[in-house]
């Protein structure tokens, strides 16, 4: 608004000197990290063939050869040119076509800024200004006949601090949290009263006992989930937080039209399936190996095999990353010259291998527990009947472990699907990171992290989260239904 007002005042404040030239440029006062906003008002509507050069220098100047060129704006034909929105180009520029409403400037394919005939004023956010230092700006008007007019010179300094976003308004959040808490407290009081009325004495004070836990759960988990779903329907991003508005399903359209949507979903599924199958398979193998009666050194083995679970995962993942470096242990050991992490398929193999290594102990221990619960008499009877080891495993162990394996595999599925650390710390989604789209080893949740905190597109990231959650629900539901169905048959 401020910018608009200043611009409207411009022609009044500064008199007309020369037709169509920029006689004055003004600052609209807003500066950012290494950037300064300027506004230039034309004395007359612009005409075809004229172009404007924005000049700058770190000392005051009065001739063009004392200054450096920042950018050029051409007056010309604009049909067929792109018109990038704010934030899509390096220097955001907008112009007034004559009716007082500002629209984004046109860009040729090489990025040259173009305004149509009859423009009254142009505003630009100049980027790349050295931070925290006073800089001088002027605009040079060059007519088709090569006469030049230099505007007055103004000075401004960009800030040295990166101001990412306006501080959010606290009150709506406090209001939401307050109303959730109050309604929950009212609900608990109501339930308490109902219990009292019914004369249930065994529940004395129960609602008071669960109130703190339930309140924190509501405020810090359920509220963010609902807020996330709302965010997915707004245009929230880093630059317009607090002013975001409802945009419908636009973000979901963005999600499904992302180049590489299928690729990242496919790799996520591959990643999850290979990991869960290997975790359960190898965990089962080791659990059976450990379950041997009278095996010497069992405790030592068990303790050693627990280590991948006991050591913090961020440490082991980084250690593995070091081992996969060209100078690391893998090449030393194998006597090879590999650089797995620089190759897309190699990196995929490496991250999956590391996650298999990490996840086996949990499955091993859980399956061990289930194995010990199996009745010993069953195996003794099988032994008497002369049934071989493999047949015992196939026909006794596996069917009896089923009730433990089904929930374990579902749990493993959800955990692996959401395993952030391994991929973020090993490859950060790379190699082959595209400008907009997932990298070669990105799974859904590492990509969402990038969308949210690298691109700052919170609304789109929230939409991704909703889509991922929906996928998880569908997979888990189908899995449970199918396993239940087969259980009913057997």
């Amino acid at each position: 608004m401020k910018r608009l007002l200043l611009l409207l005042l411009c022609p009044l404040l500064f008199g007309i000197v020369s037709a169509g030239s920029v006689n004055q440029i003004v600052l609209d006062g807003s500066v950012g990290y290494r950037q300064v906003d300027i506004e230039m008002a034309f004395s007359e509507p612009s005409t075809n063939g004229t172009h404007y050069e924005i000049m700058m220098n770190d000392s005051e100047f009065s001739r063009t050869d004392e200054s450096i060129l920042h950018s050029i704006i051409i007056v010309g034909e604009t049909t067929g040119l792109m018109q990038p929105e704010i934030g899509e180009w390096y220097d955001d520029c907008h112009y007034d076509p004559g009716d007082g409403v500002f629209v984004p400037i046109y860009r040729e394919s090489d990025g040259t800024a173009v305004i149509p005939n009859g423009t009254l004023s142009v505003g630009c956010t100049l980027t790349g200004i050295p931070s925290g230092q006073e800089y001088y700006f002027a605009v040079l008007t060059i007519y088709p006949n090569n006469t030049e007019v230099l505007s007055s010179v103004i000075a401004s300094s960009s800030t040295a601090e990166d101001e990412l976003a306006e501080p959010l308004k606290t009150s709506p959040y406090l209001f939401a949290i307050g109303s959730i808490s109050l309604s929950l407290i009212a609900l608990l009081f109501g339930l308490r009263w109902l219990d009292y009325r019914d004369g249930r004495t065994s529940s004395k004070g129960a609602h008071l006992y669960i109130a703190p836990a339930l309140l924190s759960l509501a405020v810090l988990t359920f509220y963010p989930v609902i807020y996330g779903i709302w965010l997915a329907l707004t245009n929230a991003d880093q630059s317009q937080l607090g002013e975001h508005v409802f945009v419908g399903i636009e973000n979901f359209v963005t999600v499904f039209s992302t180049s590489g949507f299928l690729r990242v979903t496919g790799f996520t599924l591959l990643w999850t399936l290979v990991n869960v199958v290997s975790h359960i398979g190898l965990g089962l193998l080791l659990a059976i190996a450990l379950n041997k009666h009278g095996l010497r050194g069992k405790t030592v083995y068990r303790t050693m095999l627990l280590l991948p679970w006991a050591i913090p995962s961020y440490i082991t993942v980084l250690v593995w990353r070091g081992m996969f470096e060209p100078a690391g242990a893998i090449n030393d050991l194998l006597g090879t010259d590999l650089n797995l992490l620089a190759d897309a398929n190699g990196a995929r193999f490496a991250v999956i291998m590391v996650n298999i290594w990490l996840g086996i102990p949990f499955m091993m221990m859980s399956i061990s527990g289930a194995l010990q619960a199996l009745p010993k008499e069953m195996y003794e009877a099988a032994e008497v009947d002369g049934i071989g080891n493999f047949s015992q495993f196939r026909h006794l162990t596996l069917p009896n472990l089923r009730s433990a394996l089904v929930p374990l595999s579902l749990l493993g599925f959800i955990w692996t699907f959401n395993m952030f650390n391994v991929i973020y710390l090993m490859t950060d989604g790379g190699p082959n990171l595209d400008f907009d789209g997932p990298g070669s080893t990105d799974i859904l949740i590492t990509y969402v992290y990038d969308v949210a905190f690298r691109d700052g597109a919170y609304g789109v990231a929230a939409a991704w989260s909703v889509v991922i959650f929906a996928m998880l629900v569908v997979f888990s539901w189908t899995y449970m239904k199918r396993t239940n169905a087969t259980e009913a048959v057997t």
Partner: protein, 426 residues
Amino acid sequence: MSSMDNMPRASKSDLARRWYVPQEIESIRSYYPLVLIVALLSVGLSLIRANQDAIYSSTSIVLVHLVVLVLLRQLDHGTKNIRDGALAISGIGLFLSILHHLDGPSLWIDIWFTAWAAIPFVLVLAAGSMPMVTLWVSGRLTVKAAELGLRKNKMMAMKHSHALHHLILFHAVAAVALPILWILDVALSPENALGGGFMDEITGEHFEKLISSESFWLWTRNSFIVSIGTTLLGLALAIPAGYAFSRFRFRGRDSAMFAFLLVQMFPGVIILVPYFLVMKALGLLNTSLGLILAYSVTALPLCVWMLKGFFDTVPRELEEAALVDGCSQTQVFWRIVLPLSLPAVAVTALFSFLAAWNEFLLALTFNTSEEMYTLPVGLASLISSTGQAWGDFAAASLLVSLPVVVLFIAFQRFLIEGLSAGGVKG
């Protein structure tokens, strides 16, 4: 028995053959799948190394293994000739393995591969030439000898199966130990070298640097504040709730318990972005309080379920007696239930502490200023696009994980019980 003695000699030995397979042969057969997998890996390694001769020799070793396996399978209804063939081919295989080994570099892995290639051949040679096996394959086995053999088989089967279990477990342990040995080597090596011989130069420079560096202690302090805060707040929230779920029957109990289960199903990612914005709005980014709140709520459902399970095991009679004696419900809780379940509370506390101590994603997202880094984020920042301080990272990793690992191993039984109870139920 007497009727058997009257039978002709040939049919008796046929009977013996049908009932008896020497355990040596049986064991070698069941080891063979592993042998073949390793042999194929050896071919793979030769392919990666692009060593032509090694590719040929390792492939032919695989083929020889296959032939030996087929011959071993034929032995049951075979003749002495098949045994002799297996022995001869095993000899060739042994020779090939040695040639293959002499051909390439002799790193640890090559010695390992050679062992896996050669030892089965040696075993076949040894087992195949045993007198008992010779009798068996030549059809001259008496029923008496077979009975003796069957008894011996049982003992041997036990020993061999133990050996197989040790073999599998030893390899698993080696795979686990590899990164740990490597990080030990990097931590004790000078500068930030990743490669080099194992423990060839030993120095404590990284540990000295770490102990005298400010940021490491700052991160440790932050981690301690966050983890202890999480533990205290988490327990303060979870103990009353767990107790109420365990002891009281009240309206809304089932819905509340379901709410706790539901939260465990939510993947962290769906909350991350809104969580970040709420924290930002409340000014809780780059504070310890923000992380403490987030962690204690994340761990809350599991803690509540664990504690509920523990409280369920405390006998109710004690409480009822105390109530009859005139204690109030609050007094019962503080004076009787809590002291009795102190070990359980300690395990839950340890669980909360470890979860907060190791958490990475939320710490990375919420605390972006270096002043407020916790250990996970701080350690990860040592290895980034700008810095590759592997030596310092390795030393810090060892210092940070040692106490955690000791705690985990010491309390593994309780932690795993609680975690799988909560996890499987959730």
